[in-house]
Symmetry: C2
Subunit: 594 residues, 2 copies
Amino acid sequence: MRVTSFPLATLRDTPSEAEIISHQLLLKGGFIKRVSSGIYAYMPLMLRVIEKISLIIEKELNKIGCSKLLLPQLHPSELWKRSGRWEGYTEGEGIMFNLKDRQDRSFGLAPTHEEVITYIASEIVKSYKQLPFCFYQIQTKFRDEIRPRFGLMRGREFIMKDGYSFHSSKEDLIDFYKIMEKSYENIFENCGLKTLGVEADSGAIGGGASKEFMVTADSGEDSILFTKSGSYSANIEKAISLPSREKPLNNFSKSLIHTPNQKSIKDICKTNNLDPSQIVKVIIYKAKFEDKSEVPLLVCIRGDQTINDVKVFNLIDKTKKSNLITLSIIESDLEIKKNLNGLPIGFIGPDLEDELIKKNSSWEKKWVRIVDHSAFNLSNFISGANKVDFHKFFNSWKFIGDNYIEADIRNSKAGDYLDKDSSEILLEAKGIEIGHIFQLGQKYSEKLDAKFSNQKGLLENIWMGCYGIGVSRLAQAAIEQNHDKNGICWPIQISPFQVVLIATNLKDPIQEKLALSIYKEMQDYNIDVLFDDRDERAGVKFKDADLIGFPFRVIVGRDAVDNQVELISRSKKIQLKLSSNELIEKFLNESKLL
Amino acid sequence: MRVTSFPLATLRDTPSEAEIISHQLLLKGGFIKRVSSGIYAYMPLMLRVIEKISLIIEKELNKIGCSKLLLPQLHPSELWKRSGRWEGYTEGEGIMFNLKDRQDRSFGLAPTHEEVITYIASEIVKSYKQLPFCFYQIQTKFRDEIRPRFGLMRGREFIMKDGYSFHSSKEDLIDFYKIMEKSYENIFENCGLKTLGVEADSGAIGGGASKEFMVTADSGEDSILFTKSGSYSANIEKAISLPSREKPLNNFSKSLIHTPNQKSIKDICKTNNLDPSQIVKVIIYKAKFEDKSEVPLLVCIRGDQTINDVKVFNLIDKTKKSNLITLSIIESDLEIKKNLNGLPIGFIGPDLEDELIKKNSSWEKKWVRIVDHSAFNLSNFISGANKVDFHKFFNSWKFIGDNYIEADIRNSKAGDYLDKDSSEILLEAKGIEIGHIFQLGQKYSEKLDAKFSNQKGLLENIWMGCYGIGVSRLAQAAIEQNHDKNGICWPIQISPFQVVLIATNLKDPIQEKLALSIYKEMQDYNIDVLFDDRDERAGVKFKDADLIGFPFRVIVGRDAVDNQVELISRSKKIQLKLSSNELIEKFLNESKLL
């Protein structure tokens, strides 16, 4: 391809709206153009990257017998109502764009395709003989993100590979899940990326086991906890561990402690010579369900630990038949006044009475009390006295009776122990999630009535798995992992072009002739070459080449008269002067080594 | 690929909801699955067809220097408001799905991309040196069709190739338009289709010259008028011609003619011994503009001719600065009563008075009178007397003064003359539009401020062209053109597979071994082969093969023991028994000939 056939559109200045380096480089290199918040055009260079990644994915998935199809992007609400996700996706987290057509029927713009593919499977699968199979697609998806940011990392339109497998047994699903896991590792390796597989929460997709594939990078929005030995790695949303031991708390002489204006754990500890691990922190939440019921929660955790909202969500979601739509900390004065008879904010204790909830409140009239293991394991502790300016000494949890759920709702953190018998402690890193695989089980097939007749002739719900890769996000994550001060350093496997051909002075007929003959020869060898044939100074072309990040550069300069050219790698580790006759062979060898 | 890797999903019965053969065959062959009205999933076989068509398009467009990119599907309303098309596309014809995000900002789901691409060009083009270039994409588009039908022909989600070219002069645009025209001819030929290029109306896209590419088929929704010699062909929306001559009308003795209950032209002609060509038919319309103004129209045409709404729309759209949003015949009693002081329906004449429009009507208070040439050329004619049960004899158009527009607003039809000096008459055929190219000129660059600095250093609006291909529609149109009573007969270029390999009894180890070795050898030769390895009777496989429409079939049967196989073409014109050793060579030769 020739540069003059499309405007390169590189920028001189770093766009101020981009916070992270990969976003800056995508904009500066002219790879993407912003059309609206979280919505970008993929310019020709970028689309080449996307297509190379897509080809790598397709090759690997076809190898394990998956078939590509293309599903609609507009989904009728009826299907999402059948799976019970319509409310949660439109009202709850609110990530699904939705609209009404002119017949006033509701549609969602697909962020994921479990409903549609399960519906199709319900139409075409009759017998176990047709199973297993796996369909996948590569397609634009939509999410109405609250705060789109970081370019393609958290966009509102993004490209995904999503695959769905169908099985006649749980065992077959698990076997295939493992095959897919290996396939994912191959895909990311073939894209030139270093990734880490971590245990993950299944989130709104649901089902059983799930695993995320992370590109580790400081700019990552996910926290990963892992052991040095590699024996464990998990997303913080999912990670389980033991906190460091609490500082023992001796008996207190008095039960009530006067703590005027000491609303934070820090204040209390400082004034009373306590350690945060000796305190039980109590936070109140409200859970809103699809059936419109509202449940107030009283969540207790050790003072030096933090609450994991995802774990609380999953825990509470299971307590009712209706789907949990939102979970939020109760903070608004208005809401507190409306529903509670005085709340001693900053001094709440785990024994806060149900009677506090007003008779005319729309909430259920009993607190759901959740106690994290870290709090429950304390024999002595300090917590709020449910009385302004007072805390209280507790020497047991007996007061709570049967009226509580003890569970792990704690955020693991660096320094935690893996488990009781382990001397391994957790380390923390930031990661960018680029892939996620799930064992869905029968969650969707049951809801959407996708059955097969088994070998005994009985109808069973199909077993399903689902497998996602964020294609556009992967492209950007590759930049986070591969750049220097001058620009992007694409892994050669997914670079828009493998090599850029630059003549320092195209007006010199000798240079022009040699450049053209190299261009033609490279094309004949199917080398993915971009010929920078612009009427620009060589310096401009070199700078653009570094910014855009082609792995190799061939320079035709003054030595063209002696048939001499230069072959330089983006890293500058390879810098060769050589005869143009040797160029192709040398390039093929060197590019293979990358 | 093996059939067992994905469910074929062919149906035994013809789905009753499908009206035309191509739609029936797509459903019956398991190519598509309906998810909602006008919304389909492309199953693996179908996606292969789509991808083959896409590759043919890409190859041809890359050859003429076009670059592929990918634009967003969600378009901010602001861009469409700048081009003046937001109202027309959301309120008017109503074909654009639209929604509000959770920040309450309006977006449209793109049916076309002039606004977005022009905006991007305005950001990246500075100088004439960057011109010309042409971007294209292949992508799902959306239209909220009133009456989705015929499967992929008129769907609400469909796949388009849309391209946009940018030029520094009108001449350069016209030159490139001609190159693209040739490129389109190549594309359709390479897809194995017979198409006809016709002059077309630019419609909502606007701009100057435009040309449509039609697959002729009885099920087509477009009417094409053309001469036998090929000297002329046009979409009926655009076609211009001379109607057959009127039957001369002698002077009538009386000016008023009593025509009780004769409301139709047929009635009047029958009772009064007149010919429809002697009558002027008057129809009243209402034009609604974006600025909310409503203009009543009185449209006159010769009684044997019909009014072309597209021509009327284009004519009226030009009369105001504000965009015309809708044009509709005034029929509702309620609307007539509200705005008019008595309307002699069935007896309206061209001299209907402006005073009929009520003072308190929201309409403008004067009729816009439009007279088609066919009516204006009549020296004597009969028309309504504006008095119930009466018609009138007119012997001139003098009464109309200056207060009218004479124009061509007539539907051409078969039998019309090409023009005054021609003896060529028009023929009519039905067609399916699969491509459309437009010279947009500066329409969008002006509105969206996309300028370049020309060789003199002055800022000019960029000249633009736009070029569409309905990829999914093309696939289905190919079936309309290529099928028989047993199923589809895909052109080999776009067939999901070139050849299907069937062993009549896979349980026979000799057959199985030979089939597997042929399968492997064909893959080694990069032959696009599908191995039907299902545990099914041969008859089922043959029937599916005919229905799905693979151009070739290789059958491994009892003669496998002698290494003999059969090679049969879908048309059955080729039916060879041959040694498996000769198979590959023979197949390659025969498939080249198709």
